[in-house]
């Protein structure tokens, strides 16, 4: 029963996605095209985030720690 509930819930979520993006009104081949494009774009966004976000975060942390690290006694004004 639990599997059925989960499947129903996922189906409901898919239906909401169809309604919200108005792909509910499209013909099946248009829907397939739309889903392919959407999934591709989302996959690219996720991949880009996975590849670049950690590096950028590390660099940002380095940058800010340099500012604070350079004045160990904290005499310099904080923040520019």
């Amino acid at each position: 029963m639990d599997v059925k509930r989960v499947r129903d819930y996922i189906h409901w979520l898919y239906y909401q996605y169809l309604l919200v993006t108005c792909s509910y009104v499209l013909e099946p081949w248009e829907q397939s095209m739309f889903h392919t494009i959407t999934v591709t774009v989302v996959a690219m966004v996720v991949y880009t985030a996975y590849v670049f976000v950690p590096i950028h975060v590390r660099l940002a942390l380095q940058f800010f720690s340099q500012i604070f690290g350079a004045q160990p006694d904290g005499a310099a004004p904080v923040g520019n």
Partner: protein, 593 residues
């Protein structure tokens, strides 16, 4: 007795759904200041709701339309390059070099968005449109380009879309006795116009009855409700007249022939018929909308598309109307600056797309101050509001002498066809000679006139029963119950608490089709409306409550709406009222300090 509008607005107990007022801690949905002042124009509370949906809803609505538009362009491209069969109307091969007959671009929305969900409109019914009706089932094999009937009828679909406010659309033999007698006496055809040989004794009887019902001197009836507006406004609004129309309401502009004069004309609060009447006469007269006057220069409005800022504009409508009137009087006609010969303000009793009631006391005080005329189109409100069903004039406790031209239709609350214009005797005499409808249109047929007579007599109590009053009370009860329940469930409902027209906001284009189809599966027939009849982000389902609906039918519909609201995620309201309505009513009457 006329007052400055700003003074009025501060003294009135007006509830608006505008966002700042909704943050009142005590009563979500409206605000109240010291109860009702004694000297105000409004004798009872006037509560209207126009809540705005959360921002993400607007974002997703635009996303939905963007997706639809992109795929529309794709399909048009495929059709233009022969990759797909063309189903639209087009000229013959030999005529391809001629001036185009079919404007492809203008029908873009029609072809690509409306057509995909077209099965929710124009559904043929095969019974009387009472509280329930029978539907002919139809299916489509090619995505709504063509339909075919399966031969089956869907029986007893609950009817939430017909303007059958008082339930007079009935087939009960006893009720229709007099109509059958008249049908056998006169037949159905008149075959003549009012000015030739089409005036029957039935028309005289009906006109006298209408005048008595409304409390005016005289009335004139016409065969078609739409034509009453479109044929008579040109007679009243001639050259050099100004006709401001109350709010902004998008209408479906289907008259390409007038694109020469008006391009697309967007009006709120003026029915298609009135707008057509105005367009027909728009050679020298000017049509302006109130909220526009706040933003635009002195250019003529015809051809402009005003931006509807809906909730904020509400508070500005009276002020913008006053500004418009002042400017019209001060500056006169656009190029010559001659004075306008007359200024007629066109308003509707109930606006059928918003479900709101016109602010008649304020408009009448403005019209008296600036010496303009008032044309009140009571198509939806006659029979449906007011203590005895006499329309918005009775609803506000005013006298019919305040309004110059009372117009209404018999199609909605009286279950017949046709319209009337009533007012002073000299106005009606003028119309008898000058109305386009009296000259060219055939008059109302006698059985229909008899149906109106029997409905009106029932309403007035002249048939010896209290059935008319019972119907009005039942409609009032049904309306309040339905609206209260919908508010409690958390839907966004527009309009006045007393209006039987209930628009439920859907917003996203994908949900329009899904909602209507699923409601039909549950055996409930609803009317959904989208662009261009409504603003593009505010598509809605419009329910028309009827006195013929029983409590069980309303409960069925409400349960279905509850389910569907959860399934389709339509409950956008941030302020569902408490589930103790009695307490709510009591609190309203106590004065606050």
């Amino acid at each position: 007795m006329s007052r400055d509008t700003t003074e009025l607005s501060s003294c009135l107990v007006l509830a608006k759904g505008s966002q700042d007022l909704l943050f009142s801690p005590v009563f979500p949905g409206f605000s109240q200041k010291n109860g009702i002042c004694n000297g105000t124009l409004y004798k009872k509370t006037f509560i209207e709701h126009f809540e705005q949906a959360p921002m993400y809803v607007a974002v997703f609505t635009f996303v939905g339309f963007a997706v639809g538009t992109i795929f529309g362009y794709l399909r048009d491209f495929m059709r233009a390059w022969g990759l797909e069969k063309r189903n639209i109307a087009e000229e013959r091969e030999q005529q391809k070099d001629f001036v185009p007959l079919y404007q492809d671009f203008e029908n873009f929305f029609n072809r690509n968005l409306y057509l995909r969900i077209r099965d929710n409109w124009n559904r043929p019914i095969c019974s009387v449109p009472g509280p329930q009706f029978d539907l002919m089932e139809r299916v489509t094999d090619d995505y709504n380009w063509t339909f075919r009937f399966t031969g089956r009828t869907i029986k007893n679909v609950i009817n939430m879309g017909s303007y059958n406010y008082l339930g007079f659309a009935e087939t009960d033999v006893n009720a229709l006795k007099t109509v059958t007698i008249e049908l056998e006496k006169y037949g159905t055809g008149i075959c003549s116009t009012r000015q030739e040989m089409g005036t029957l004794d039935k028309h005289i009887e009906l006109e006298k009855l209408v005048a008595t019902f409304l409390g005016v001197e005289d009335a004139m009836v016409f065969g078609m409700g739409f034509a009453t507006n479109s044929m008579n406004i040109p007679a009243l609004v001639g050259k050099c007249s100004l006709a401001p129309a109350e709010k902004l309401q998008k209408i479906r502009f289907m008259f390409n022939i007038y694109s020469l004069i008006g391009a697309v004309l967007y009006h709120r609060g003026v029915s298609v018929a009135a707008t057509l009447g105005l367009i027909l006469e728009s050679v020298d007269s000017l049509v302006q909308t109130f909220a526009e006057a706040m933003h635009v220069t002195q250019e003529p409005v015809i051809g402009k598309q005003p931006e509807p800022h809906y909730p904020e504009a509400l508070t500005h409508y009276m002020q913008s109307l006053e500004k418009l009137l002042r400017e019209a009087i001060i500056y006169g006609q656009p190029r010559t600056h001659r004075a306008w010969r007359k200024i007629i303000i066109l308003v509707e009793g109930i606006y059928s797309m918003e479900g709101s009631i016109v602010r008649l006391p304020e408009i009448v005080s403005l019209k008296n101050k600036y010496k303009a005329y008032l044309y009140l189109d009571e198509a939806h409100s006659i029979g449906a509001v007011g203590a005895t069903g006499r329309g918005v004039i009775e609803y506000f406790g005013m006298s019919p002498d305040d309004v110059d031209v009372l117009m209404g239709t018999f199609t909605k609350s009286f279950g017949a066809a046709g319209g009337y214009i009533a007012g002073r005797k000299d106005l009606v005499d003028f119309l008898r000679t000058h109305s386009h409808s009296a000259v060219y249109a055939t008059s109302m047929c006698p059985p229909v006139a008899e149906q109106i007579i029997r409905a009106m007599k029932c309403l007035m109590g002249l048939d010896g029963t209290t059935q008319g009053l019972q119907r009005v009370r039942q409609l009032e009860k049904n309306t309040r119950y339905f609206r209260r329940k919908l508010h409690e469930m958390g839907f966004i409902i527009y309009g006045n608490d007393d209006s039987p027209v209930v628009p439920l906001l859907l917003y996203m284009p994908g949900k329009i089709g899904a909602f209507a189809r699923r409601m039909l599966e549950k055996n409930i027939g609803v009317v959904v409306v989208g662009f261009p009849a409504t603003p593009i982000t505010e598509s809605r389902a419009r329910f028309c409550v009827s006195a013929a609906h029983t409590r069980e039918m309303l409960d069925t519909v409400l349960n279905a709406l509850d389910e569907l609201g959860d399934f389709l995620q339509l409950k956008y309201s941030r302020y569902s009222k408490s589930s103790h309505p009695e307490l709510y009513e009591e609190k309203m009457l106590e004065p606050e300090d």
